[in-house]
């Protein structure tokens, strides 16, 4: 059987020549559910990756396939299947809702469209179960308007909606950006439970490496439109190889009595180099070589690779087939 989602050499350049994402290959199969975090700062290409995978934008190079079919050329019936199997949870929980409809609307729509229930009562029961599974009390949610709920409640309703359909993949783009740390933990643990109990693959797109470490099994670190480092979470977080990942981890403020934020670092002043490694202008280990050549991903272990010449003794990966690295 062909893969659920297959990205082959997928890249995106926007009009005007801005490269949003360099060539990436990634395969997700239905029989091997994965929990992958895509981590990067704004402008790293992480949202572009999500939008490509959801078919919301067309790739400039390569193809995104859903069960073997090009996502850009799906028939109406196949597109319906795709919309059932792959669910999205977006960053902004305000924009998804129509303020004139009760929030019930976003939940009853998919039930009707995909004929998930045979009766009204059965539909209602499905919705209530989905809400409970993300830690919401149906009686406090149903019948309300979007503005009557908190940002965290709205974000969780979107997760509940994704669940109703029992999808094979959830693409969650910053699903907890609008909520406090404590609620963040609640929502993410509910995503984790879904992955474990229902075998749903999750692509968790975030700028927050600490939550990614807590819930995902694998991490892809993006920097300026390309993969900087990828592999098993324990390896990437505990033994980061790419100087960018190291900088990222070193910048996370820790709850500790030891202050590791000493001194003052200045932002890099040099312009990013046109050729060579994208991180060279900020990299403490950069050499002449880094300015001239773009490093490929060097595979230091079965489940760990870094696009940095510091690892040039490891074999280079000829195509960036990330799935082979990920748990």
């Amino acid at each position: 059987m062909s893969a659920l989602i297959d990205l082959h050499d997928v890249g995106k350049t926007f009009a005007g020549g801005k490269v949003a994402l360099e060539k990436v290959s990634l395969t997700l199969t239905a029989d091997q559910p994965r929990f992958i975090a895509v981590v990067g700062e704004s402008g790293s290409g992480k949202t572009t990756l999500a939008r490509l995978l959801l078919g919301m934008i067309a790739p400039t190079t390569g193809t995104v396939r859903y069960q073997g079919d090009d996502l850009q050329r799906l028939s109406a019936a196949r597109r319906r299947d795709f919309r059932h199997d792959v669910q999205a949870v977006f960053q902004d929980p305000y924009e998804v809702y129509n303020p004139f409809y009760r929030v019930d609307h976003v939940l009853t729509m998919p039930v009707r469209k995909f004929r998930l229930a045979r009766s009204r009562a059965e539909g209602r029961a499905l919705i209530e179960t989905a809400l409970r599974s993300v830690g919401l009390r149906p009686e406090e949610i149903l019948g309300r308007y979007p503005h009557q709920l908190s940002g965290g409640q709205r974000q969780r309703i979107m997760v509940a909606r994704a669940l109703l359909l029992k999808p094979k993949l959830i693409v969650a783009d910053e699903p907890v950006s609008m909520v406090d740390a404590s609620l963040r933990a609640t929502i993410l643990t509910s995503l984790r439970r879904l992955h474990e109990e229902m075998g749903i693959s999750i692509l968790y797109i975030t700028h927050d490496l600490a939550t990614a470490y807590q819930v995902a099994d694998s991490i892809i670190v993006l920097y300026r439109a390309a993969v900087a480092e990828a592999g098993h979470v324990e390896r990437v977080v505990k033994a980061p190889l790419h100087p960018y990942t190291q900088l990222l981890i070193g910048s996370i403020p820790r709850v500790s009595t030891e202050r590791d934020w000493v001194g003052e670092e200045r932002p890099a002043g040099r312009a990013p180099s046109e050729t060579g490694c994208r991180f060279a202008d900020r990299c403490p280990s950069a050499t002449e070589h880094c300015l001239l050549q773009t490093p490929p991903l060097f595979r230091v272990a079965d489940d760990h690779a870094s696009a940095c010449f510091l690892q040039r003794n490891a074999p280079a990966m000829t195509d960036a087939q990330l799935s082979s690295l990920l748990a």
Binding site: E41, S182, D208, Q214, E234, V255, T257, R259, R266, P267
Partner: protein, 318 residues
């Protein structure tokens, strides 16, 4: 008692609501020493931003300051008229508001925005004198001189936030209030901006109030931390003590909800939701979410008790 630069005494802020009065800040007291870094942490809706605005007497209708006093040195702020209060903002207490990088005027060059702030407080500089002052201020916050003639859209998020800090310090305030100054920045830039803010504060000899919900940021930056819940300051203690031995169950759960980079698993949120301020539960407002709540917590509101010179707590169990 040790010297204080800012003293907040039993401050109360109320919002008039059709279904009754909502108290967003409820009887809050604390004081700041000169040079001290004080943090105010809590979930959204806990009253921490309202608290910051109330110190500056910037609460707008339907909100109002219901009672209490704020002292800056020997000056009681409630006794100041509108003009003198206006002069004191920025010059005495400066604020870096939430999302301030988006509050820069998009059609005015950075140099002129700093110039406007100075002129508004009676420091009318022109030509070379203004240029020199602006260059000094930008240098203090780690920005190159050419930023002076740029417009906000030409700057990155981190640079805009630095420009806001430059405006905040242009009159050498005694207290800086920074409300989530880095919430829109990525972690690498956040660290750089916070380090700069810390150095600038030391250079000025100002005290600082950092408002936010990131306990990691608090741990790395502040000397003493206050925890707000449902409009009350439920715990205050030196940061080291708060991390190692929090007295209030809410503080402990807030710390535990932060994702660790050392160990996987064990990520858990605080169950339940923060209460609506107009429907506060009786007794301790935290009792419905507290794992240790007793009968007393459900009926009797815990008073704020001093725990040594530096710390207070409002919990029956502490």
């Amino acid at each position: 008692m040790s010297e204080t630069i800012l003293r907040v005494e039993r401050l109360r802020v109320a919002y008039d609501h059709p279904r009754g009065v909502v108290r967003a800040v409820d009887d809050v007291s604390f004081s700041l020493r000169p040079h001290e870094r004080f943090g105010l942490a809590g979930e959204s809706g806990s009253g921490k931003s309202t608290m910051a605005l109330a110190i500056l007497r910037m609460i707008k209708r339907p909100g109002r300051i219901e009672g209490g006093e704020v002292w800056l040195g020997d000056t009681a702020l409630s006794g100041l008229d509108t003009d003198r209060m206006r002069a004191l903002r920025l010059a005495g207490i400066a604020m870096v508001p939430q999302g301030s990088m988006n509050s820069l005027n998009p059609v005015v060059r950075i140099r002129d925005q700093i110039g406007d702030a100075l002129a508004d407080h009676g420091v009318g500089l022109k030509g070379r004198a203004l240029a020199e002052r602006v260059r000094d201020l930008l240098a203090q916050v780690g920005l190159p001189p050419d930023v002076a003639r740029k417009y906000p859209h030409e700057l990155s998020g981190g640079m805009k936030q630095r420009a806001c800090i430059a405006i905040a310090i242009c009159l050498r305030p005694k207290v800086i209030i920074a409300d989530e100054p880095t919430s829109a920045l990525d972690v690498v830039v956040q660290k750089q901006v916070m380090q700069t803010l810390g150095r600038v504060q030391q250079d000025l000899g100002a005290a600082i109030i950092l408002v936010g919900h990131d306990m990691g940021l608090m741990a790395q930056f502040v000397d003493r931390l206050g925890i707000m819940y449902a409009g009350r300051l439920v715990e205050v203690a030196p940061i080291r003590d708060i991390i190692t031995a929090p007295r209030h169950p809410y503080t402990r759960m807030l710390i535990e909800s932060l994702p660790s980079l050392e160990q996987r698993g064990g990520l858990r949120g605080i169950p339940g939701l923060a209460p609506l301020l107009r429907e506060l539960p009786p007794g301790c407002a935290f009792h419905p979410r507290c794992p240790a709540a007793t009968e007393r917590c459900r009926s009797e509101k815990p008073a704020v008790r001093a725990m040594g010179e530096d710390a207070t707590v409002a919990c029956h169990l502490a």
